[in-house]
């Protein structure tokens, strides 16, 4: 069944009086106790992307074969991953953001398809391809039916009936006329759905907004900069590295009104700790990319936020890159784990940042525990100051040679690692509670960066720097690595060199296998302990989607969206400029367009029946 805007009747108006269990309790139970399903974009609230399923394991994964596949009908970059709830698989496409509900019990027929009507002009204000990182699911309660929530490119947030695809409600989360767009996957927490925005390259001010799932009404909105009533910070009780943030910290470190066009958009992943009752997410780059035009620390761009999901108030914050000079957005995944620090189990959040440092913080207090480079070539800062007595506590120690601010406007600062793409971007890592290791897809790219003066026009790009990017010099020649990371000791355990940036999200399973995709289009399976490659299959297009798994009628499946694009597709499609050309460099610098082509496709794998049944 097809449903369009015509169905935009507020069924939600027919709300029941008493709520039974809240959505998040049910969701949490589903995520923890029904490993056969994949009920939220991030796998579970802790963002593990780990599955208990173990039918496919490291001994038989080499026999994996394609079970079925499906074209999405859209050519652009396909980030994100499907959900599986019961017998139904749900996924969204890049612009125009069609949503499919596929019946797994019925030969994969399309149960319903939702096709939003959006003004195509929004395509022109999406900085880095028209990606969409997936839909969220809220289980039925007394107040609303089972609901799928879509965050459209034009910032319309739509609640659809999971059964029929009927529109339950629709709200406008931002103004695409000002360059405000959406790409991130919403997250359902406690009868609310949390939605972020994009547009840091258009001077959009970031915010995180919680909508009531029953009605679509705004419960709270927390901006990334501004006075306290906009940022939802308490001058005394909200802390930064253990100290109260003070009054209006979201304007105090900006000059004049620059914060109003100051960026800090919230386009990454959201995690949630039900016990501490805190949600975690990161904020993006301050705008413009010309640091000279925005003196100060530019709080709270580039920040990890821990907020109360009921009212949005922040408990603690940590700004990783004060006064960004390189476009190192802080939006990457926030993985929640309980790790052993010298015999003491600590509740931590682990965050591999764009800036090349992987951070481990106490997720209750925001105390900084570990900040180490997860690519040894990271050079813009020597280290993060860990001494609480130092006035530099928590701040990266910037190397003058790679400071685009100290280099100044109209000066090219060369050889900065990582590039603006970051040591990783949004492509989410996986965590295994067995090995206690983090499996991180990374970029291995450096850059030259020349900032210059720009003027602001609403709805127009507001960039202010010229960049060129190239594979990390004097390394293995490739533009990516896939690594296993020890977040207690801050060490790389193993690292697999990759020809292109690994722009796909990882999956870890109880079968002791880790999966990820590559820009050439491979789905790869590697041994969780050693990183040894066990299987590869070349799908129809480059993979920038996240690998997921589910079970149906006793069989385990692995699914991934192909469809090259995203920032990686734009930068790498034609090959990056090669500083070492003529010095015998080969292979690694070839252009991605020699390897793959546009095209959205879902590919689903399983074991041959005789292998599966012998398990």
């Amino acid at each position: 069944m097809k449903s369009g805007l015509l169905g935009a009747v507020s069924i939600a108006a027919v709300t029941a009086v008493a709520w039974s269990a809240s959505a998040n309790e049910q969701l949490q139970t589903m995520a923890e106790e029904q490993p056969g399903e994949w009920v939220m974009p991030t796998g579970n609230y802790a963002n593990w992307r780990y599955s208990e399923l173990d039918q496919i394991d490291k001994d038989n994964v080499d026999q994996l074969q394609v079970a079925w596949s499906m074209s999405t009908g859209v050519l652009r970059g396909h980030e994100g991953n499907p959900l599986v709830i019961g017998d139904t698989m749900y996924f969204s496409t890049p612009f125009p953001n069609n949503v499919f509900a596929v019946d797994l019990a019925n030969d994969g027929i399309i149960k319903w398809k939702y096709e939003p009507q959006q003004d195509p002009q929004v395509i022109g204000v999406m900085c880095c391809d028209t990606v969409n990182r997936g839909v969220a699911y809220a289980p039925e309660t007394d107040a609303y039916p089972a609901t799928i929530i879509l965050n459209q490119a034009d910032t319309t947030v739509v609640a659809l009936s999971a059964d029929t695809g009927q529109v339950l409600w629709e709200v406008q989360n931002g103004d695409p006329g000002k360059g405000e767009t959406a790409t991130m996957a919403p997250q359902v927490v406690k009868d609310k759905v949390l939605v972020g925005n994009s547009g840091g390259e258009y001077g959009v001010l970031g915010h995180m907004t919680a909508y009531d799932i029953a009605t679509g009404e705004v419960a709270w909105r927390a901006f990334s900069a501004g006075p306290d009533d906009m940022t939802l910070l308490d001058p005394e009780n909200t802390t930064h590295l253990g100290e109260p943030v003070g009054v209006d910290s979201g304007t105090a470190t900006w000059e004049g009104d620059q914060w109003q066009i100051g960026g800090g958009t919230t386009w990454g992943w959201i995690s949630y700790d039900p016990e501490l009752d805190l949600v975690y997410y990161g904020t993006g780059n301050p705008s413009t990319w010309n640091p000279a035009q925005r003196p100060g620390d530019n709080r709270w761009s580039m920040t990890i936020m821990a907020r109360d999901p009921d009212d949005g108030m922040a408990k603690w914050l940590y700004q990783m890159t004060p006064h960004d000079e390189w476009d190192y957005d802080g939006v990457n995944e926030m993985i929640l784990a309980d790790l052993d620090f010298e015999g003491e189990e600590r509740k931590v959040v682990v965050h591999p940042d764009r800036n090349g440092f992987a951070y481990t913080l106490d997720r209750e207090t925001g105390e900084l525990l570990v900040a180490e480079k997860y690519d040894p070539f990271v050079n813009w800062a020597t280290h993060v100051e860990m001494d609480p007595e130092s006035d530099q506590y928590g701040r990266p120690q910037v190397v003058a040679e790679y400071s685009t601010e100290q280099g100044g406007e109209d000066t090219n600062t060369a050889g900065i690692c990582p590039a603006a793409l970051g040591t990783k971007d949004q492509q989410p890592s996986a965590y295994s509670p067995e090995t206690k290791l983090f499996y991180i897809p990374t970029n291995h790219v450096c850059m030259d960066y020349e900032p210059f003066r720009v003027s602001y026009t609403a709805g127009q790009p507001y960039v202010g720097a010229t960049l060129s990017m190239y594979p990390t010099p004097e390394s293995h020649g490739g533009m990516g690595n896939f690594i296993a990371w020890d977040a207690v000791n801050g060490e790389i355990v193993w690292s697999i060199p990759e020809q292109f940036s690994v722009w796909s999200g990882a999956l870890a399973t109880a079968g002791d296998v880790v999966f990820y995709g590559t820009l050439e289009g491979y789905l790869k399976a590697v041994d969780m302990e050693t990183g040894e490659e066990l299987y590869r299959f070349k799908t129809g297009s480059g993979v920038i989607g996240n690998v997921m798994t589910y079970e149906h009628e006793g069989e385990q499946y692995i699914a991934v969206l192909s469809g090259v694009g995203g920032w990686a597709g734009i930068g790498l499609a034609a090959g990056l400029t090669d500083p070492a050309a003529g010095l015998g460099a080969v292979g690694g610098y070839a252009s991605l367009s020699d390897y793959t082509n546009l095209g959205g496709q879902l590919t689903v794998f399983k074991l041959p029946e005789e292998v599966a049944s012998s398990e």
């Binding site: 050519l75 195509p120 900085c127 391809d129 390259e201 010229t466 060129s468 090259v564 930068g571 034609a574």
Partner: protein, 169 residues
Amino acid sequence: MMLKHAIRGVVLAACTAGFASAQAADPTAVENDAGKYFDAEGYPTFNIAEDGTVDFHTYSGFRRFNSECHVCHGPDGVGSTFAPALVESVQDMSYEDFVAVVAGGRENVGSGNQNVMPAFGTNPNIMCYLDDIYIYLRARGEGDLPRGRPAKKEAKSDVFAEMEDSCMG
């Protein structure tokens, strides 16, 4: 203000040329007006010296292109998964058409296609440097300017500096 600059460019070029050519003209520079070069038909063009030194407009175009356009058209104009290779386009396209597409945008959306070239007519960061971007792309497409940052450039002229100040406001 920035619109005036661009439109003046078009009118000027059209007058000098007498007609709007469908094809780009021979890019050889025949005239140097305070560091800005023009071809025989009066269209802005590049000048690359034997030792690789580029005129300042080519350099300025390199900077602006790789800030404002590369996110869709790929680094150095070589194209991407998202938008065409402009180093090719400028060879088949008139100056007037180039200016018109950048100022007014273009939409090519239908079955299979989701191509939107935004309209930049109100954006001084682009319109004030549109000739430079055009010159740069010609140098890449029709000249022998390699990818990447030009190693050597002519100095910024006073005329350029004045123009920049008045256009950017």
